[in-house]
Each structure stands twice: as C-alpha cells, then as structure tokens.
Symmetry: C2
Subunit: 460 residues, 2 copies
C-alpha cells in the first residue's frame, strides 16, 4: 500500500497517553472557570466566510482555511472569467474563538444572561507554514465576560487565571497588567502625535526582547522625536518595573498617577487600575499582578486594562487578554462592554511536558481480569460486571492465552492489579488477586474481590 498513514502536514494525532495529558489540563481549566461561574459555549468548527473574513487583517484572511464549493456552485465559480478563491468557497474553518463569540452574542443576546460569562476550549485552524511547535490545528482556551464595565470583571478574570496557574503548578509566573489608556496618556504627555502612536507602542512593547537601549534605538529609528523619546523614557523609567528591585504595584500606581495627571485618559486609566488592584487584593491574582507600563500587546482593539502572563523562566507569554468594549459590536449596532483572556494552552502543555509536571503513572484501569479457559469465561465476565457496578475500572483480557502472556500485557498497560479465576478458584468460588508491582498475591472469596483489589492497589 502506498497511501501515507501520517496525519496531514501540520496536524497531530493524540494517542491515549497524549489525550490524558491534554484532558488533565483542559479539565483543570474547565473546573476552575466553572467555579467562577463561567459557562461553556460550543460553536461550529465551520463558519460562513463572510463571518470570518475582514476580521483578522489581510494577513489573517490569507490564513483562513476555506472550504471548497460543491456541485453546480463550484462549476459556476470555475466558469467565471477570473476565478477568485472567495468564489470557490463560501465557508471556512474558524480562525479564533473571539469572532464566533461576537457572532453568537449578536445572534442570541436576548436569550443570554445580562452578564454572559463564557469559556470555550476548542480547536482553531490557521494555514500557517507548519514548523516545530506550530500547528495548523491547535486549541485555544478563551474566557470572556460580556456586559459589564466594572473592574470586578478584570479582578475575577485574573483571579481565575491565577488559580489555574497555581493548580497546574506554574509557581513562577506574573500577570503583567497595563491599560490602553495609560499608553495613550504616555503618548500625550510625551508629545508623540497620534500618527506615531502605533510605531511608539511597537517599540516599547519590545522591552523584554531588546532591553531599554534597544527600545530607545527602535523609537528613534521609527522617527519619534528625541525630545519625545526622552520624556517617554523618563516616565517609563521613573519607577522600578516588574522584576526590578523596589518594584511595587502601589509605587507604580502612584508614579503613573503623578506622571499622567495632565491627561484625561491617564486619570481614567489610573482609576481603573486602582479599582482592579483593590478588588483583586483578597484573591489568587493579588500576588501575581504587576503593573507594567511597557506592556502594549499588538491588538489595537483593546480599550481598557490589558494582561499578559509571563515568567523569567521562559520566553514569550502563556496568554494574554484585556478589555475590548468595541469588538462585540462588529456584528451588531452599539458597543458592548467585554473583557476576556486567551490562555496559551498549547504552550502550557509543552512547558508542563518539559518540566515533567505530568503524572503519567496514574492508573486508568484499576484491575485486569485474566482468562483461564472457555468454561470459566462467562463467570469471569460476570465478575467484571459486578466489579464495575462497585465503581472499579475493569479490563478483561480477551483471549485464552497463557498466563505469562496475560501478565506481560497487563504490565505493558501499567495495570497494577490482576485477578485470576481458574478452574480451582471457580470450584471454590474464590478469586486470586495479585499486585504486579509487589508480587503480593492472595486468594479470597469471590464476594470480597472488590475490597481486596482496592487493598492491593493502594501503595504501601
């Protein structure tokens, strides 16, 4: 056979061991989000092309996987003088989870709670060139609150994130927090004109990649006037930043309040950040939040606080988010306040694997019943039913092979305990339970099987 049995390029198979690792992380995230009152939303993998296109910039549009028309529609499209890919397709695979959320909110808002707190953990698709660690199908893990402008939302979202990170044993991370309006005020007080804002933001966002001198060089290269650079850096460096000696959120907040008081945006931002710190103080995020005036994040749609999870122990971030009061409005009239976060779950999985944080030894089958011969098979299978009804996860070896082969199989599957029920045991209405690690083996009356399996399973 010449057919390849590999998955398509950029796609992955997850064998049971991989699935268990991924599910462990997904389940942890779901459980925490649900403990914060978030509810799960599921949207289709396929969206109309006019839902997807025009939302991610030209580069993003190119990366949308489009689904080929069929039958007459395809024939008609092919007969056009100039065939365009948007005529050959009218649907595509979703590119992220934010556009579907905005569409769903616009479509069903009358059926949704006034405050819509949803999470979604689901695959998205991008036609990027596949490379190490970059796939064409990968999971995103989004949480958003739609409907409130209160900073309690930011406090809750960051608290949920901090709880997840703690449960997954990321003990060395910070949640960097800035505010879109801090950035705007910074531009204003430095005298950087609106036309140069995005250039300046790109430059200062690079601090952790290029350092402070690199930022200054980048600002100058991008044509920011020297006087503006000097003023900007004076504010940015006027107070120790995250990770620097002497850093504190209180000091940073006071510094920003003083430095940005000439700007209306600055005052609004400082008020929001002050509320956020106040509301977050008693929760899990309090010790992780760091005000960071350098944090810019690329996306221009943020309108309020912005977040990013970082650590000194790895490059890049574990996800980011913020308040985007205009974005939901892309599918409906009027702005709707919203704040969300996208956790970099694929990155988290890679780091957890590198750090050996997965407990792969955890058993997924409690006991395997061995088969002796055809005559005793029915009663072995009946025992399997009894044990399952008592809450045990039970595998039954399917064939009448030699015991040595059956033992080997159980070991290869990491099954800790096996049960033998041969002719002798059957005659005596007994079972023999054996722990394959310790070698301990006992024969007990059949009705004590579950108890004995549990006893022999527990370590020590």
């Amino acid at each position: 056979m010449s057919i390849s049995t590999k998955p398509a390029s950029g796609f992955r198979d997850f064998l049971p061991k991989d699935v268990r690792r991924r599910q462990f992380v997904f389940n942890t995230i779901e459980r925490v989000y649900e403990s914060f009152g978030f509810e799960r939303l599921d949207t289709p993998c396929v969206e109309r092309l006019d839902t997807l296109l025009g939302k991610y910039g030209e580069e993003g549009d190119q990366l949308v996987f489009k689904i080929l028309q069929r039958g007459d529609k395809l024939q008609r499209a092919l007969q056009a003088e100039e065939v365009k890919d948007t005529d050959l397709a009218d649907a595509g695979l979703r590119y992220d989870l934010t556009v579907p959320l905005a569409r769903v909110y616009a479509q069903y808002r009358n059926d949704l709670p006034r405050f819509f707190k949803r999470y979604q953990i689901a695959p998205v698709w991008r036609a990027d060139r596949p490379q190490k660690g970059r796939y064409r199908e990968f999971f995103q893990c989004d949480v958003d609150v739609v409907g409130s402008s209160s900073m309690t939302v930011e406090a809750e979202v960051t608290a949920a994130l901090a709880t997840i990170l703690k449960e997954l044993r990321f003990n060395d991370v910070r949640i960097h927090v800035n505010h879109r309006k801090v950035l705007l005020a910074l531009m204003q007080v430095s005298g950087i004109p609106e036309s140069q804002e995005s250039d300046a933001l790109i430059a200062i966002d690079k601090l952790d990649k290029v350092g402070r001198d690199g930022v200054i060089a980048e600002l100058t290269t991008r044509g920011i006037a020297d006087s503006a650079v000097t003023k900007l850096m004076a504010v940015l460096e006027g107070c120790p930043g995250p990770g620097q000696p002497g850093f504190s959120n209180e000091a940073m907040l006071a510094h920003l309040q003083q430095s940005l008081s000439a700007s209306e945006e600055g005052e609004a931002a400082v008020s929001d950040l002050s509320d956020l710190l106040e509301y977050a103080a008693g929760g899990a995020a309090a010790s992780l939040i760091c005000l960071d005036p350098y944090l810019a994040r690329g996306l221009s749609y943020y309108t309020g606080p912005i977040f990013e999870i970082r650590s000194d122990d790895f490059a890049g971030s574990l996800g980011g988010g913020g308040r985007y009061d205009g974005l939901i409005g892309m599918f409906m009239k009027g702005d709707v306040p919203a704040c969300g976060f996208s956790l970099g779950v694929e990155r988290i999985l890679v780091l957890m694997e590198e750090r050996g944080l997965f407990n792969d030894d955890e058993t997924h089958v409690d006991v395997m019943l061995m088969l002796w011969d055809k005559e005793t098979t029915a009663s072995t299978m009946a025992l399997a039913a009894e044990l399952r009804s008592q809450g045990l996860r039970v595998d039954v070896y399917p064939d009448h092979d030699k015991y040595s082969k059956q033992f080997k199989y159980a070991e290869s599957r990491n099954i800790p305990v096996v049960v033998m029920m041969g002719a002798d045991e059957s005659a005596a209405n007994e079972v023999t339970v054996k722990n394959l690690t310790t070698g301990t083996q006992v024969s007990v009356p059949r009705n004590q099987a579950a108890l004995t399996i549990r006893e022999l399973s527990s370590p020590g």
Copy 2:
C-alpha cells in the same frame, strides 16, 4: 450591519444550556467506556484527501468537505485545462471516525497495546443537504477493539452499550444481534446465488419498515426466484423473532443451528453467537440482546456478528456496529481482527429531549455574591475566593446595581442562593445568606458562610 449572525447552513451553535445536556450524555458515555478499560483517542478534524477518498463509495466521496488549496498551488490548479475538485484541494474534513482509527492503527501499531480498545466522541462533517434533524456537523461516538477475534470482545462491547443505555434511562431498547455468516448461510441454504446476495439482504433488512409481505414482494421484485424466497422465508419465519410471542435467544439459536447446519458459514456463525450469548449472560447486555436473522445492516465490510440498537418506541436505530476483520487492513498489509460500535449520540440527544429526560434544573452555580457598594467590594471578592477554595462554585454580581436588580439576575440564572454583605454586615463581620426559592434568610458570622450556603442549598 448586513452580515448574518446565524451559523452557516447545516451548522449549530450550542449555548451553555445545550452544552450541559450534550456534556451530560458525552460524560456518561465516556465514564462507562473507561470503566470497561477503553481509552480515548483524538485525531485531527482535517485529513489528507487521499486518506478520505475511496473509502465511502462514490456517494460518500461527494459528501466529503474539501479544503481549498492556497497560493501557488491553487493558481497552478486553476490553470489546468480541466479543473478538477481534487486538484483544488488536498485535504478534507473527516467523514467518520473509523477511517482515522484505521490510519492511526496502521501508523502507530508498534506503540499501541496488543489489544487496542479506544473510544472517540467527536464531530464529523458531511456535505449533505441540511434538513430537519440532519446537520453537516454532527458528533459520532465510536468504540472499537482492535486485535482480538474472541467473542469476549462482542460481549464486552454490548455490555458497555447496555450500561450506557441504562444510565441514560433508555429502558425500552433491544440490542438486535445477527451474524454476517448467518446471512451468507441463509443465502446458501435457500439457493440464492452470490450475485443476488446483496439484493436479498437489502430486502430482508426492511422487515421493520415494510413487514413480512413487503419483504417477500421486495425479494420478488429484485428477481429472487420464488422457490428461493419460499425457502428463505421458511427459515426466517421458522422461529418467533424479537418482539414476537415465544421469542427466546435459545430457541432462535437452536433453530438457526438446525436450519443452517448444511453450511460451513452457518456452523461458524452459530458457534460465535453461542459464545457471545454465553459470555454476555452475566452482564448488562444479557436482557437486551435479541438474535434477529433479519438484521442485515448495509455495510458490506462486516465479517462476524453485527448489532443494532432498536426499540418499539421509536423508528430507526440508536446505532449499530459489528465485527469487521478486514477494515483496518485498508491502510496496511494483512487483516487485523476488530469489532466496534457507533452509538447514535445525536439521535439519543433528540430522544432524551423529547422524553424530558434532562434535568435542566441542576444548578451550575452554587451561590451568587451580591455587591453593595464600592467600599465593601474588595471584601466581597475576598469572600468569593474563600468560598471557592472550600469547593463552592461562586458567581459575583459585577456591578453596583440595586439589590432588586441583582435578585432578578440571580433568579434568571437559576442560582439558588445569594449572599449579601452590605455595610452593616461588613461592620459586624457577618454575611446574610438567602435562599431565593424559599425566601429563607439568615445572618451568620462570615467564617460560617460556606456551611450556611450548603445548608440553605439542600432541598427540604
């Protein structure tokens, strides 16, 4: 805005209430399969086109959603003299979960256990014309055992199905069982030539739609000789069938043994079915299994026992399966024994909804904390963190609205209990806990909040 906010035609959004119903069913299925030692496999939604095409017949190939090429490859394909859809695409959305299983088994068989017991609950896509109850994206729920020819496998698969059906409260169903070789033997002893086998099988499979006279008419229309029809019906009607007075598996087995003894296939089939009944006797499937010589199922790839879940209370089936010892070999040399079942999970969801089997009242948030004013907000949010660490699912109302509005919101979300922590309570280090259904309201010291919430939540 003129952009539609509906999902693409044939696709569905699942709001949180729908998700809860679907997850309840999926979780039940997963839990049962895992208690039988099955492990979860995840494969990509997108497969290479040469993996998909040629596996589902010409009609099936037409229904595969193909993904448009991009960039140069697309341009080259469009410049061909005759543009074919298979040149415009090199990947597609998976059409079922069986072909991916076969591909995965061929690719990773050396890393997989000798007996590979996997389940997969995942969406598949078919470019069918959308209509009521038929969608272009729907979930399949497959379980398969690869690697053993023993009838213990059939016994385990049917026992798992029976357990799932019981847990989902389908108390009125039967698992119809037949054997591919029973059907072949029936043809042989009736004198129906091989060339007419598939015609004859299509006819007898229609019993529950057209009745016995309809089956005879269909056989005659399809050109089966009268003498063969007479012989065939004599065997089929020689023993009461499932649902008829006097039916028993033992009687049916004895009847088949006698009627088909002239055929080698018949003897092999009767031996298999006898083993299957023997092994299943002590488990959950014993009371549901009905030997049914009419059951044919369309797919020609079955080689052994075949199953279908049916009921007198609804038309059609809740899924089907069987043994297909040749199918895995489509991606590798040599046959691999395998047996599987695809549970009709979308059908199950519709029936459960029609029958009111979902418990939508089940709460998904244990308590909502109300907000009094800005000053008390931080301590309310700290309380939320404490309650969550004690295992409660806690929502915090985000805005400083009037209490009446907050009560209304909690009711709209079916949240049973709320906590108030106004200025008076805060001063006294107390909280007021209120059950919104009964109106019961008590003030307790703050450190007793979790206990009191649990007390006021429990019914009665």
